[in-house]
């Protein structure tokens, strides 16, 4: 059966039943990691499963890869706008109406508007465009690793995996270096506001509201600046972009920038951390990569599949429809569980095996269809550089204490991962 590893804590044998299964509570993810045993059970017994939970609206849990693909590829039948993901309130927290904190960005837009906004930046995120950033990503990664020289223990998350993605996106947006720590804090608060460690104010919503306001203020100034003096960074491109012949409306512009700041940080960070954890737990795979650096591309795909940092997004039906024989009514929502698709027995041989040579690897870590991750090539490049450098320089690594997980059922995260390591100097 499933390997019982730290990366797969959900694989603990547990009595499961449809009445008691919990794939929603953020606390469950914090304590046990991804509920892989629960998802496996649902894939087998109830792949389209109606979930009711006291702290969120009801939804249908979709756990099979084929169903997620079918739904994602029909963006006019299944909308993103009405419900972006299944967000769960903190105990005792009151839900706010969506108008209270408006955001309008790629992820919650639908066709045809969505395509117009996506086209503005898609050419900046193709493999070729992103490839041009490789020297910069390598420089940032080398710098981050060099800071670990002369020591034997560190928190891999805060000192390595969190630092690279924020630096890369900050560079792309043209955010000056002294402001990087602020960007870092905002992403933590916007994605991880449900976790006490990142909470400011009374509850997750207040934390989010505060961070959102600060991001908006920050970029309002930058946009003004870039309109007066355009440069070639992404902020400048958006600040001066036209939608239907007119400048982009302010809410759309600031939301676009906010999503760029947050979408690639927590996610790439967790792929990196989870990737190293998988290497520590499967030392033969790390040895394989060290012996054959040509495996880096397939290793990165496997890390994306294995870690699946985005847990879920939702879609809402515009008309009555059927998924795998289950009737779903107009207005009802479905929740697409990407990590479950990435362990789907119908798609992958030995899905619970971490195999850096896996081929083919049609995983859904970056989603599929209309909203397919805009930054996937950037994320792949970052992971390639980080694991290429780690394979070259990390002579040994082991856990030096317990890992702690993010309290979130939206983006999965390891907050801290103490490691004991031996690192060799950079070679040129």
């Amino acid at each position: 059966m499933e390997a019982r590893t730290a990366a797969n804590p959900g694989a603990k044998p547990r009595e499961l039943s449809l009445d008691t299964i919990d794939i929603v509570s953020p606390e469950h993810y914090e304590q046990n990691g991804y509920p892989h045993a629960e998802w496996a059970y649902l894939r087998k017994h109830k792949p389209v499963f109606h979930v009711e939970h006291p702290r969120t609206d009801p939804f249908w849990a979709i756990t099979k890869a084929a169903d997620i693909m079918e739904i994602s590829k029909q963006p006019r039948l299944w909308l993103n706008g009405p419900r972006l993901a299944v967000f769960v309130l903190a105990p005792g927290e009151e839900a706010l109406p969506p108008e209270a904190l408006p955001l309008k960005h790629l992820l919650n837009m639908d066709p045809p508007e969505h395509g117009e906004y996506r086209r503005l930046l898609s050419t900046y995120f193709t493999p070729r465009s992103v490839r041009a950033l490789e020297p910069e990503v390598t420089r940032i990664t080398t710098e981050v690793l060099n800071d670990l020289m002369g020591r034997t223990e560190c928190d891999f998350v805060t000192e390595i995996s969190a630092r690279v993605p924020v630096a890369v996106i900050a560079e792309m947006l043209g955010v000056p270096r002294p402001d990087w720590p602020r960007m870092f804090r905002w992403t933590n608060e916007i994605i991880g506001g449900g976790d006490p460690e990142f909470q400011r104010g009374e509850n997750p919503t207040e934390t989010f509201a505060q961070a959102r306001m600060e991001v908006f203020e920050y970029f309002t100034n930058m946009v003004e600046e870039r309109r007066k003096h355009p440069t070639n960074d992404v902020t400048s491109i958006l600040a001066n972009a036209k939608i239907n012949g007119a400048p982009m409306p302010t809410l759309e512009l600031l939301s676009y920038l906010l999503v760029l700041v947050v979408a690639g940080n927590e996610t790439t960070r967790n792929a990196t951390t989870g990737g190293l954890l998988a290497m520590i737990e499967n030392p033969d795979q790390f040895e394989r990569l060290k012996a054959d650096p040509g495996m880096i591309k397939s290793a990165v795909e496997e890390i994306a599949r294995w870690t699946s940092p985005v847990i879920q997004f939702a879609r809402t039906a515009t008309q009555d429809t059927v998924v795998r024989g289950q009737k779903i009514r107009a207005g009802e929502s479905v929740c697409l569980f990407y990590p479950s698709a990435n362990r789907d027995e119908d798609v992958f041989d030995e899905p619970f095996k971490f195999d850096i040579g896996r081929n083919p690897n049609p995983h859904l870590a970056f989603g599929i269809g209309e909203h397919f991750c805009l930054g996937s090539n950037l994320a792949r490049l970052e992971l390639e550089v980080i694991f290429r450098e780690l394979a070259k320089r990390l002579e040994s690594a082991e856990l030096a204490g317990p890992i702690s997980r993010l309290r979130s059922s939206f983006v999965g995260g390891i907050k801290h991962m103490p490691i004991r390591y031996k690192l060799s100097p950079a070679r040129n």
Binding site: T123, P127, P360, F372
Partner: protein, 63 residues
């Protein structure tokens, strides 16, 4: 089997190349066919490319 790529949809993500390098290549950020009529031995890989293309830019037609 005839393969068509809708270049208006293609974003050059290269997932097709990952699935079937014998058949697809990406030049100037757009996918192109290396061979127009792939042999039967490659059909499975082409079908995988169709499934993996995040933009649904590839279609297959029986000839």
């Amino acid at each position: 089997m005839k393969i068509e790529i809708d270049l208006k949809l293609c974003e050059g993500n290269e997932r097709c190349v990952a699935a079937a390098p014998e058949v697809f290549e990406v030049r100037d950020d757009q996918a192109h066919l290396r061979i127009e009529n792939p042999p039967d031995s490659l059909i499975e890989k082409v079908k995988l490319a169709v499934r993996m293309c995040p933009r649904q830019a590839i279609s297959l037609r029986e000839k």
